[in-house]
Symmetry: C2
Subunit: 192 residues, 2 copies
């Protein structure tokens, strides 16, 4: 499945054949089965992860035991707690698989070295960061300005492919509403 990663790299940057090999060679493929953790709250995250297959999520669990999903990642997305990786502090997030999945792991050290030694890689990562920031900004805007129903509709517009793969209760969590509310919201939408 390293091919998925290589194909992705080709599409995202101007890599020479050599550089491509260099990047791909440091990645370690790992299978993560449904419900299995990639990293857990309290761990110090050591790896950046690129999803080659399946679907994972980043989330926290509060005192009441309620899960709050911060992100989903499917094929061709990156996942991982940048904060913990960079700072070396324990992560506050859990990451686990929603489907049987496969990821390409790159350790912090190797990742940082790639950023220095392969300019195309560095540029690619910064582009992704830039895009991630805009997506986050956008999501914040939905939280401060939209109702539950509008948030769901906006989610469908942007991430309809996720809607097919992820349980509704998790989408509700991602939107910051309860599963019951989402169920009712959907009923309302269908009615019209």
């Amino acid at each position: 499945m390293i091919e998925v990663f290589k194909t992705y790299l080709k599409g995202k940057g101007n890599y020479t054949e050599e550089e491509l090999e260099k990047v791909a060679s440091v990645a370690v493929i790992k299978k993560v089965r449904k419900r299995q953790y990639l990293t857990q709250e309290g761990d110090v995250a050591k790896n950046h992860a690129f999803v080659t297959k399946g679907c994972l999520r980043t989330y926290t669990v509060d005192e009441k035991g309620i899960e709050h999903i911060l992100n989903f990642a499917i094929e061709n997305w990156w996942i991982g707690d940048r904060e913990s990786i960079q700072t070396g502090h324990p992560s506050i997030y859990n990451i686990d698989a929603i489907e049987d999945s496969e990821v390409a792991l790159i350790s912090k050290e190797k990742f940082d070295r790639l950023c220095i030694e392969v300019p195309a890689f560095n540029d690619m990562i910064n582009n992704i960061l830039q895009k991630s920031f805009l997506v986050a900004q956008n999501r914040i805007h939905t939280f401060i300005s939209l109702t539950a129903e509008e948030k769901y509709l906006s989610f469908l517009e942007k991430f309809s492919h996720l809607n097919m793969r992820v349980p509704q209760s998790m989408i509700a969590s991602y939107l910051g509403i309860t599963a019951e509310t989402l169920s009712r919201v959907r009923k309302q939408i269908v009615k019209r």
Copy 2:
């Protein structure tokens, strides 16, 4: 006030004297009076802005005329719609001054050239981007997991300095709640 910018640069990256001058020399100082726009919805943003004095905000106005504040920026913060600057699409945000302010403007072209010609600048910008992303991520987490009161308390912990300078109604908007709700929340907190 360009000195504020230079001091900031010195603290944020390993610049030679030359590089420092090069960066500072492309910045154009602009005064923005209270309530004056820096950019308006529909404009194509042309400049990155660094705040040397005062306080500005990024916000949208919905169909009902309600303002939704996405960000504040005070001294030593950057502000500007990266999306519009990069893509050349009209901005969906308004940026205006909350206090009489002063910003250092750097045009897209000059900014991009600095990123290429001054590695320290490029690194600094990417560091800021990384940090901005983490802050945004964190804010998203407050939206999906906290009540109005908890969001306000969390805001106070992180941005008490803003609390002193920004009207409550704007903080409410930033938190995605109404001014009335914030007022009641504060009353509750004082009671205890």
